[in-house]
């Protein structure tokens, strides 16, 4: 059974220029332990979708079910990672990771153990007492990922988490995320506008149209895991990327 199921989802914002349709008729499913990417041009409502799943935004129509129950507000079994690390500058890396433990009122001692284990998983065990300003952008984002996982959510939402990083850090982080995902065994909903990133990381990709975002294609990525930098040089990999790229050039031509 699917962990997450979005059906005929529509979101309409009211703005000063009248109502804006951000999402229309979007349907998607995410299986247990699956890595699903949502790929779309910028401004297609990808982040809106994420906010709906996070319970921060009510859909205008349609529904999202998580583990068989509709999402009506923020839930403790969902973790979230934003494009910016959004760490608290006055707290150490460890305390930043512990944030969801504190807000959800979980046991702090157990949470601390878990947080230290997660900092180890993201390769930052030596930086637990460092403040965000003492960490590089990639390290900050890894703290953010650890924070998203600390309360043991069934689903991790990631909103273009590597978009603000430089190209080299980005490739490194893609490898890291794959490793973390394989080790932690979570389901991940990954929002991106980068085709190679989506192909490298995903089991499946949902392609959205321009605003208002609709599902226009679902692509299965069956490249064997663990994928490495060598995978990106393979013919299968570039074929996948090219297919998706062709899809987008079609999309943009009628816009």
């Amino acid at each position: 059974m699917a962990l997450l199921r979005a059906e005929n989802l529509a979101v309409t914002y009211s703005s000063s220029r009248g109502p804006v349709k951000a999402l229309e008729n979007l349907s998607a499913t995410l299986g247990q332990g699956e890595f699903l990417s949502v790929l779309g041009p910028s401004g297609c409502g990808k982040s809106t979708l994420l906010k709906v799943v996070a319970g921060l935004l009510k859909p205008s129509s349609g529904s999202v079910m998580l583990g068989g129950a509709p999402i009506t507000g923020p839930r403790p079994d969902v973790g979230i990672v934003f494009q910016q690390p959004t760490l608290l500058p006055w707290q150490s890396a460890l305390d930043n990771v512990l944030l969801p433990v504190r807000t959800l009122g979980h046991d702090l001692a157990a949470g601390r153990e878990k947080a230290i284990a997660l900092l180890k998983l993201v390769g930052l065990e030596k930086f637990a007492s460092h403040y965000p300003s003492e960490l590089s952008g990639g390290m900050q984002q890894r703290v953010g990922i650890a924070r998203g996982l600390v309360h043991d959510p069934a689903l991790l939402l990631m909103d273009e988490p590597f978009a603000a990083l430089d190209a080299m850090t980005r490739e490194h982080m893609m490898m890291e995320l794959q490793r973390i995902w394989m080790a932690a065994g979570k389901s991940i909903l990954f929002i991106t506008h980068s085709i190679p990133e989506a192909v490298f990381l995903s089991d499946r990709i949902v392609v959205l149209s321009e605003r208002p975002g609709r599902t226009i294609r679902e692509v299965e990525i069956d490249l064997p895991r663990p994928r490495t930098l060598a995978t990106m040089a393979e013919k299968r990999f570039s074929e996948r990327c090219n297919e998706l790229r062709a899809l987008f050039s079609e999309l943009v031509s009628f816009a």
Binding site: K51, A54, P74, I80, F82, T86, L88, W90, R102, S133
Partner: protein
């Protein structure tokens, strides 16, 4: 990321930052002294630096100034703490409640644009000639910069941070105390800094209007007898109070808001 060598002041830099203003001070005092001698300015118009020093010595070593100094210091400290605390609490309520903001904002703006020192005579009528009226005056002038800075600072919390906290089911109280207030700390300290300067103005004005004590009273009393050296001595005392207060706040700022080095230096003083 470790701070580069240019970020840390060397001992030579430190020495320079102390020595250079001292040089300016000595030159100014020499100019002052020379000008009085050359143009034969009478003492009741402008005292010599030596006469001012004498007045300070008389005031603080023989002890005539202390009761005035402590009176002003007392009204300043109590008024400042009272005004800033109330302003902080009300600033929080304003920033958190749209309803309260809508109901009271026009009146706050109206009160803010009124010169508070104009209320001094009324406050004397209500609270008497003693310390109470001075405390109320100081609290009143401290209130607005602190109130506005608190409310504005709290509202400028990054929306991404608020989304994140909401996604992690944080309570409103948790968000206010653990996220919004620390985020606004730079603004809040800027408000505290401005309030120090304005508070001192408030204390002196209230003493001008009616008082039997205080450095402001000392100045107006000395003016009657044309004792300009006493007036200068009192002015210097006020400057010391103001500078000491500002430095104390700056020190607290850099200690408490350790993560935001930039905000500690951008303390704009208005009015």
């Amino acid at each position: 990321m470790s701070p580069g060598p240019s970020d840390k002041p060397t001992s030579v830099d430190k020495l320079k930052s102390v020595a250079y203003p001292l040089v300016t001070l000595v030159v100014l005092i020499m100019l002052w002294d020379t000008a009085i001698r050359v143009f034969k300015v009478p003492n009741f118009i402008m005292p010599t630096p030596y006469a001012v020093l004498e007045a300070l010595q008389r005031g603080y070593i023989e002890g005539l100034f202390w009761k005035h100094f402590f009176f002003t210091l007392q009204s300043m400290v109590f008024g400042y703490v009272l005004g800033c605390t109330l302003a902080f609490l009300l600033g929080c309520i304003f920033a958190e409640s749209r309803t309260v903001e809508r109901m009271f904002l026009p009146f706050v703006v109206a009160l803010q644009s009124m010169p508070k020192v104009a209320l001094a005579p009324l406050i004397i009528v209500w609270f008497g000639f003693g310390l109470e009226s001075k405390i109320v005056m100081v609290a009143l002038v401290c209130f607005f910069p602190m109130f506005i800075n608190t409310a504005v600072g709290l509202k400028q919390t990054s929306p991404a941070l608020l989304d994140l906290m909401n996604a992690f089911s944080a309570s409103r109280w948790h968000i206010l105390t653990r996220i919004k207030i620390p985020s606004a700390a730079g603004h809040i300290f800027a408000g505290l800094q401005i309030a120090i300067v304005l508070g001192l103005i408030g204390a002196v004005v209230a003493e001008f209007v009616s008082s039997t004590r205080g450095l402001g009273h000392l100045i107006s009393a000395a003016a009657v007898n044309l004792e300009t050296n006493t007036m200068f001595a009192a002015l210097i005392s006020l400057a010391v109070l103001g500078v000491a207060g500002s430095l104390a706040i700056r020190f607290l700022h850099s200690r408490i808001v350790f993560w935001d080095k930039g905000s500690a230096t951008q303390t704009a003083t208005t009015e």
